[in-house]
Subunit: 703 residues, 2 copies
């Protein structure tokens, strides 16, 4: 790739970026697009759709950029919670690292690369005519002592990154502790989830739980809620909701068809009443008894008691009475409730196998579909297209943009698929599912974008790389630098454009334009803001982190583009949090260990490539001296695991007891404990009332 | 190797075996050898040295064999504890597996191997003239369908072993639970060890511990003992003990030198008094305050309270207030008390590195020393030996027995070295040290006996095997069967002879013969029986298990020899437990997970070799169909880890609370708690009194 080609790409993408930002600046002020651009404010009730018109609404303004840049951590924490703060810390953390790397890379490594003559002379007169390879380490002459500067740069960046990683981990864990100390009493702090309750022939699950915990913890046990299989009720409730929507739509319809509508409404009303009757029947105690699962939420009268019940193995048999921390009530994922030890274990193994297969085999359909965009292939398949395909512009779009568009669409599939896979793995909470999906998407992305591009051979040859570990550095050293210009272009194309399209909220916009006629009647008050798709966004930023880290000393030219991306991401995410995403549940920073591990992986990958490249560049001493670096980095990681990770798993006895003591003299605690007893109730078991027949309301819910 | 050679070896070793057994039958009845052959009974006071003579004492008898065979599990459990039972279960478990394997191997696989003609025809007329290779799988013709029987045998043995492994794990964990339920209240059940106590400028360690635990657990905290650095006192006490021994020896000496002795005794007495004075000074509180370590034993008033303090992370900072279960008071290993988190972590890493280096580099000195036994080399170095070396018998002994003797002596070094390495790793108890040493010796033995023999190349080439995992099955399939005859001979030579020499207690016998004049005065009442060196004996039996497992379908001829070895081991260990070893401390069966893991490793190794050998024998389908076996075995292992391993780490809340309730109405508990306060006292801090100066007894120990 020539510099001119890169400049063209930068030009186009900058233009697109500015265009999107301008569009956003105008559209965000149109009340009819509030549900797309400020859904959170709409849901909170802060912004109301006002219809009065002003000229200001049509002029793009940049005030929101300055506003987004100025939002302080405290504001973010109070408005969006700790997870959001952690996410923004990830971006600022990346900014810090790549600023440091950028200074070294641009002012030290880049001139050295240009001074080399291994590939070709750097032509200062015809700047745009140079190949991008001139700017990479490949251009440094073999055996040159200048490579020691690259060697030192690798050491320096590793030390700087580890230092920052330690500082961040410490900062975020301290935030986590203070978040806990400042929190109000919450049901999940006093509750554990018990699974694999052993069957008993003489008593129901509820009785078994009660007798077991009353026997063991007579002074601290408070109450329990056995979990039921409610998929049947859930289906009925959904059906009722749909019917209700249809009825309200018919009732609000124009007057022309009123007569026909009245009949229909009557018909639907009757159907709705039947369904509600059914729901009540299913919700009645006698029917529910048969649908008990062998799992229950058990609440205690102190956080410490719940903590001990979680940490200690309860039963002699380790596969029974398995305890785990309860999620927040609104965070519970009710549908897939796998309660037995064996079933959960098998489904976990199954999901792991499926994930690995999915990750490895994902390339095949992509390659096949991309093959279709081959012009001659298309002409053979669809002869009528021949005339269109001869137009240069059309053929350029098809060959140039279609493949990456198809890849992008396929990749859009990945987060939902991984989320689904995580959901059948037996997690109890939405946050656990998202956290696990985040991990899955991360490794999928690293494998499919980085390794698949780098080893652009067959799928099988990729697999064999793992089986031949001692060849890895040499192989990586050959193939990674060769892809430098591709990844520089990738950061610009995929990074800049996608992040500004993210701001532009293309998909919600299209969706909103299509659905507008149907959702018109929806009340703004009922509007629900989306929750942040961490499992989609964290892996993307981490992938760019990996690219920056591995290419930092190979092709420092990538760094300025990466920094622009990160700045854009900072503004846009600070903005799309304040205005778009709502915080429905909170992991209190549990995403950070994923970030930390991914950074360590990037560092070690950089070291492995460095080992290979110094050997390739005929500087074996530098290659040998790089060896201690991955070892020390992994030891550092191990230390961090011991020093910080336990704080992300559970709170300490000291914290729990301290927090319990605070509440001891609090008068509101009695009321809280009263509410706690019913906090973990399956929403499917709540009474529903859509029909206008008030009789059913007067009848007792449980006979 | 020819069958005749094997038969010769079997003959010689059987003769040696019988000779040792006869010797033992006579010598064990001589009172002067009681300290060698029945040290435990001597220490218990069950057997007294009687000097009356009878003819029966000189006639070998076999009654002890029958007696050893008849000892029941209950007797063993009550006399020697659960660890001994677990050790004997290891032997009976191996007996069961290899009886099953033996039936399949001898009656099914062996005839099939002999019927093959790949290597040479089996000559039934000249049985002794056949090569041992005729009896191995190598003799089965390539591509023969008879190999499917070997394939089925591998599946059968795997299923049988997994079934037995599950049953044993279950049995031993149930024994462990009932051992706990039937145990008297013991100090370590109520106590935890706390390390990494954070420094405080205003208070001593003792005050810090007291305030921390009183604050957190006001109702359950009982007492604590801060651990002191006592190496100085320990040295002084040892010196005093030595002096005292010298004095008593002088006093009991013959009357001839009495006058000179009286002066000497006076001199020593004075010195002894000085030392005792010094010890008292060091033991005094003011001096000890400066020697406080940042670790303490903290006792609670219930097992459950101690359990929760152990399971929950106490402090916000996970590297401070680290808790672990306390060992029994007599099991505490006082000397190397590393208390800080970082120091323990670094020493652990250091020990791991040293162990790996020791294991890999151990071969080098052995090979060098073995090289010295090369005849021509010896003649060059020591010309005067030339005449002796020309005698056939001498040269045969030197070339035939010296190398294996040297290897054996080197291997004798391993358990103490590994025990030392484990002791500096930061373990608090003797049992933990022995358990860790057991693991180290096991992997050392497997590597150095099995892999080093199999890949008899250079050390580096061995290391590269790990780095090239996909070649492992093929390489193993080539080299493992080639060493079949070596390992058959090894079981006979090293197995039979060493186990009967074990019975003969060669080293204690030599030691006792040399030291007799000096130890004559020692009183039988003070006699201390040795404790069982599990870290030496468990790895040996597991090594033979590995050999039996891997050669089961390759060379079934190994199995009858292995079974004889196991029967011998059963008799000898049942005997060497009743009479020799005392149980000083108890892990309550914690050795079993090591046995289980080692068996799983053996199974998977067998599968890997099977994959390789079926491919080598041109039966690729069998090779492919073997693949699921290691996967399923590892899944089975993972299940066992979840199902049983937690029971070997700690007792459940249910068990602890149940046991606590039992004691609630026990009147002796008050007395027990009183004793508990001082149970964990460093023996170096006990008052000593060797000198006859009773003044020092009357003076207060602490001023």
């Amino acid at each position: 790739m020539l510099v001119s080609a890169l400049l063209t790409s930068v030009g186009i993408n900058t233009a697109l970026c500015v265009l999107f930002l301008t569009f956003y600046s105008i559209l965000r002020k149109q009340p009819s697009y509030y549900d797309v651009y400020v859904p959170r404010l709409l849901a909170d009730g802060t912004s109301k759709r006002r219809s009065h018109f002003s000229l200001e609404r049509l002029i793009p303004s940049a005030g929101w950029v300055a506003k987004a840049w100025r939002i302080s951590e405290e504001e973010l924490l109070s408005s969006s919670g700790l997870d959001t703060l952690v996410f923004m810390r990830l971006i600022t953390f990346s900014l810090k690292i790549f600023s440091f790397a950028g200074i070294i890379g641009i002012f030290l490594l880049l001139p050295i690369n240009c001074l080399g003559t291994q590939l070709e002379e750097f032509d200062i007169a015809d700047l745009a005519g140079n190949s991008l390879d001139v700017f990479t380490i490949s251009n440094v002459n073999n055996g040159s002592n200048r490579l020691w500067i690259h060697f030192s740069a690798v050491y320096l960046l590793t030390i700087f990154t580890c230092f920052l990683l330690y500082y961040e981990y410490k900062y975020i864990s301290s935030k986590r502790i203070s978040y806990f100390y400042s929190s109000k009493p919450q049901p999940h702090q006093f509750t554990i989830l018990v699974r694999s309750i052993p069957p008993s022939s003489s008593s129901s699950v509820s009785e078994t739980v009660e007798s077991f915990f009353k026997e063991l913890y007579p002074s601290t046990y408070l109450s329990h809620v056995v979990i039921h299989r409610t998929s049947k009720i859930r289906n009925l409730v959904n059906e009722a909701r749909k019917l209700y929507k249809r009825i309200t739509k018919l009732q609000s319809d124009s007057t022309q068809q009123k007569r026909r509508n009245v009949n229909l409404v009557d018909h639907y009303e009757k159907k709705l009443e039947d369904i509600e009757e059914n729901v009540k029947l299913e919700q009645s105690e006698s029917s529910l008894a048969g649908e008990e699962t062998r799992a229950a939420f058990v609440s205690f009268n102190s956080r410490y008691a719940a903590g001990t019940a979680f940490h200690l193995r309860q039963s002699v048999n380790p596969t029974q009475w398995i305890t785990e921390q309860a999620p927040e009530p609104q965070d519970v994922y009710w549908p897939f409730f796998s309660e037995s030890f064996m079933r959960r274990w098998i489904s976990k193994l199954f999901v792991i196998v499926v994930c690995i297969l999915f990750t490895i085999l994902f390339l095949i359909p992509v390659v096949v579909v991309q093959g279709l965009t081959n012009l001659s292939q298309l002409e053979t398949w669809f002869p009528f297209l021949t005339s269109i395909l001869t137009i240069t512009f059309v053929s350029q779009v098809i060959t140039g943009y279609l493949p990456s568009l198809i890849l992008l669409l396929f990749q859009k599939m990945v987060p939902p698929v991984m989320e689904f896979l995580s959901s059948i793995q037996g997690y109890i909470s939405h946050t656990d599912i998202v956290k696990s999906a985040c991990n899955k998407v991360l490794w999928f992305t690293i494998w499919n974008v980085f390794f698949a591009t780098v080893f652009s051979g067959s799928v099988l040859s990729q697999m064999f790389i793992i089986l031949d570990p001692k060849e890895i550095p040499a192989k990586l050293a050959v193939v990674v630098p060769a892809q430098a210009s591709f990844f520089i272009a990738y950061v610009v194309t995929s990074g800049w454009t996608s992040i500004s399209a993210e701001l532009f909220r293309v998909i919600p916009l299209i969706f909103s334009l299509i659905c507008r006629p149907f959702t018109k009647s929806a009340n703004d008050d009922e509007f629900e803001a989306p929750s942040m798709p961490y499992h989609k966004d964290i892996p993307r930023i981490l992938l760019f982190g990996l690219l920056g880290m591995t290419y930092f000393f190979l092709a420092p030219l990538i760094l300025p583009f990466l920094l622009i991306y990160l700045c854009l991401a900072y503004i846009i995410y600070q903005n799309q949090f304040i205005n778009v995403y709502a915080t429905k549940y909170e992991t209190a920073g549990k995403f950070w260990p994923i970030v930390h591990n991914s950074m360590i992986f990037s560092l070690v990958l950089m070291h492995i490539i460095a080992v290979g490249i110094f050997a390739l560049k005929k500087l074996p001493l530098a290659s040998t001296l790089t060896f201690p670096l991955p070892v020390l980095t992994l030891l550092f990681n191990e230390y961090c695991r011991k020093r910080f990770l336990p704080m992300f798993v559970a709170y300490s006895a000291e914290s729990l007891i301290k927090k319990d003591r605070q509440d001891q003299n609090d008068a509101t605690m009695a009321e809280f404990f009263e509410k706690l007893v019913t906090a973990y109730k399956d929403p499917a078991l709540m009474p529903i009332q859509y029909s206008s027949n008030t009789d059913s309301l007067r009848r007792p819910l449980v006979s």
